[in-house]
Each structure stands twice: as C-alpha cells, then as structure tokens.
C-alpha cells in the first residue's frame, strides 16, 4: 500500500506550472542588478569587518612576537 502518493500532485500540470513560475521568478530576482548590488555590498561589508578584526588580532600579537623574536 502506498501511504502517500505524491506523484499525483507533482505530476499535475498546475503544480509543474507553479514550479516553473517560481523558479523563473527566483532566478529573475537573483539576477536583478539591484539585488546583486545589495548582495555584493553585504558581502563586502562583512569581509571588511572580517579583515579589520583579523588586522586587530594580528596587531594584538605584535608585543608578544617582539618579545619572542627580538630581531
């Protein structure tokens, strides 16, 4: 016995049409220049924060490095 026959829903033309429409609209949204600019800006700000933290971390070791290696 098949407890749940998803095939009957997934094979329906209306369901497949919905899938296509959803895929097309999501792809269009992802490729919208404004969305790409926003995504790139968010990534960039995150990376700049990351680099600033890394630099601060590196600088915080400077006295210890200088003590360990007087050269």
């Amino acid at each position: 016995m098949v407890p749940f026959d998803f095939t009957s829903i997934a094979a329906q033309p209306w369901f497949q049409a919905w899938q296509r429409a959803a895929a097309d609209s999501m792809a269009a949204a992802a490729r919208d220049p404004r969305v790409m600019r926003l995504g790139a800006g968010l990534l960039r700000s995150q990376l700049l924060w990351g680099r600033a933290l890394q630099n601060a971390w590196q600088a915080s070791w400077a006295p210890i490095d200088a003590l360990a290696d007087p050269e």
Binding site: M1, V2, P3, F4, D5, F6, T7, A10, A11, Q19, A22, A23, M26, A27, A29, A30, R31, M36, R37, A40, R44, L47, L48, G50, R51, Q54, W57, Q58, W61, I64, D65, A68, D69
Partner: protein
Amino acid sequence: MQTHNEWRTLGLQLADTMDTLVAHGARTRLHAQAAFARLLHGKGPIDFVTGPATPYRVLEDWPLARLLNFPSAKPGAGKPLLIVASLINRYYVMDLLPELSVIALLNRRGFDVYVLDWKSPGPDGPDLGFADYVDGVIPTAAKLVAARHAAGLPAVIGYCMGGTLSVMFAARHADKLRALILLGTPVEFRLSGELYNLTDRRRFDADLLMDVLGNMPPFMMQSGFKLLNPFDAVNKLVSLVRDAGDGERVRHFVALESWLDDNVAFPGGVYREYIRALYQDDLLCKRTMRIAGTPVDLGKLVAPLLNVIALRDHICAPPASRALMPLVGSKEKEAMEFDTGHIGLTTSRRSLAELWPRIADWMEQRW
C-alpha cells in the same frame, strides 16, 4: 615566532577538516531524505552509495593531489589517458556508479586511465598559483604516466576548470601530451554566462575575499553556483519525492548530490589569479595571460584537440568554449557539441551511451 600566523594555519587546517565532515554529513542526509521519500512510496531504503565506484591504485600522493590509476581491462595494452578534474571538485563525477562510470567505460575501451584527484590545499593554499599546477603537478603526472607506457605520451582530458588548466598546460608543455580533450571548458570568460556577471569587477573583490578567508571554502563556492538556479533545491526535492518509487533513479540522485556536496577548497592564490586574470580580465583569449612571468601562447597548443561542448551548459556557456577553436595552433581540431548540461556530460545515461563512445573513437584514432 609569529603566533598569529600559527592561528591562521590552524584555522585553514580546521576548515579542511570541516569540509570533509560536511561532505560525509551531506551523504548521510541525502540517504535519510531518500529513505523517507521511499517510505512515502511504501518502499525500503536503497543500499548505501559510497563515493568512487571503480577500484583504483594510488600511484603518487603529492601535497596537492593524488595520482590514481584505473588499469585497462586489457592488461599491458592500455593507451594512457590522464584526467584533470576541476580544482574544486572530486574526480569521481566520472565514476559515480558502476553502471554510470565514464572511467569504467574508458577502461573497457582499452584505455589505462590516470586521474589527478585534487587535495584540499590547507595552509599552503594562499601561496599557490597557476604555476604550481600548470607547470608543476600536471606535467609531472604526464611525464610519470608516459614513462609507464610503451604506448608513449598520454592523452589529457580536462573537465571544466581542469580543462582551462589543461589548455594552459598543453600550450606550455606541448611535448608532454598526445592529444587534448576538453569538456565544458571556458576560455573566453566574458561569454561564460551568469558566473561572469557574478564576478563582475565592479561588485566582486576576489582579493578582499581571499585576504579574509585564505582559501575559498566550498560552501562559498556552492552559494555562487546555487545563485545560478536558486529554486533548484526545491525542484530536486520534489523530483526525489515524486520519483522515489524507482530505486535506480534514487541511487543516481543520491550519488550525484553527494558528489555535489563533496568539494575541496579552492587554493586562495589560484582563486585570485583565476578571477582576476580569467573572469575579470579575460587574458587567456586575449593572448596576454602570463604564468610565473612567462606568456601562455595558445598558438603553441599544437596537440590534436577535441573540444566537447554541452549545449545546455549554465556554468560554461557554449560560446565561451567555442572561442578556443580559432586561437589554437592544432592542425587537427574538432568541436563536438552535445545536447546536455555541464554535469550531464559525464553523468547522464545518454552521454554514456551516445557521447563517450564517440570521444573514445576519436581518441583511439590518435594512436
């Protein structure tokens, strides 16, 4: 002592370990999803699908790659063939399942197959460059393979980014290969489609990314590929649940998706070069590409060339591959176009039945 650098090394090593764990986790998750989908159809779970399907011997274990050998079905008579996979992917997309294996097919056709299985770059990644691969690992492997065979120089198959590396290798080391076969290989990157738009220099700063991350982790690479088709994850789940009654389809699904989640990090130094020189400046097709200070002249690529182009390739759009043909110096060159997608070149049943016998025929004529 540079203690902060040791922390960075430790971080990059940890990232590699995490990537391995993520790959194993993904394989387990996919089996669980498949088992649930099968349950909805009143069927039991499939047998566990492991990674590579064909047994192999490890000939060399270098820091950047392992050289694997899949011996021909006709011992001693094998024609050597070296496969260069994309730097970020595991090679076994060409060996997913016993019944769906390009490598097994090539073995049956009498080729002794050698594969460069890339390893995670770890703390060395940020200092690596194209030279380490194009003038280092690939020619060393080709020389080693040639030395093992009376049949002489190997033919080289490059897939995706592995194809781009192979093009540069063939242009710089023309005496180390018999023929070059490219699969879904971008050369004129401005024609490669959405990935080109994603890496547009006005928005995308590869140097900043690598300054922070060291190497490009697989999850970041994956997010870029997922942006090409953001609804794909839902479509795949719907297909899985709908088709779960067919055990063979489920095995194929789990094998392919597990491979997609099994990646190695992109070495940071190579990533900088790849994005800047190829995606953003398109230097290869402008004939101004340089590696370690010396030019990569595509006119010096004189080996017989077979350029296999997937007509529905969304990672390397067909024009990006076709652009290679007029640039090379090869007298024998052929572009073979096939109606499939980027991964379908090696994983679809139709490609195995119709495309690969033609590729094998072309290669046999080169000996």
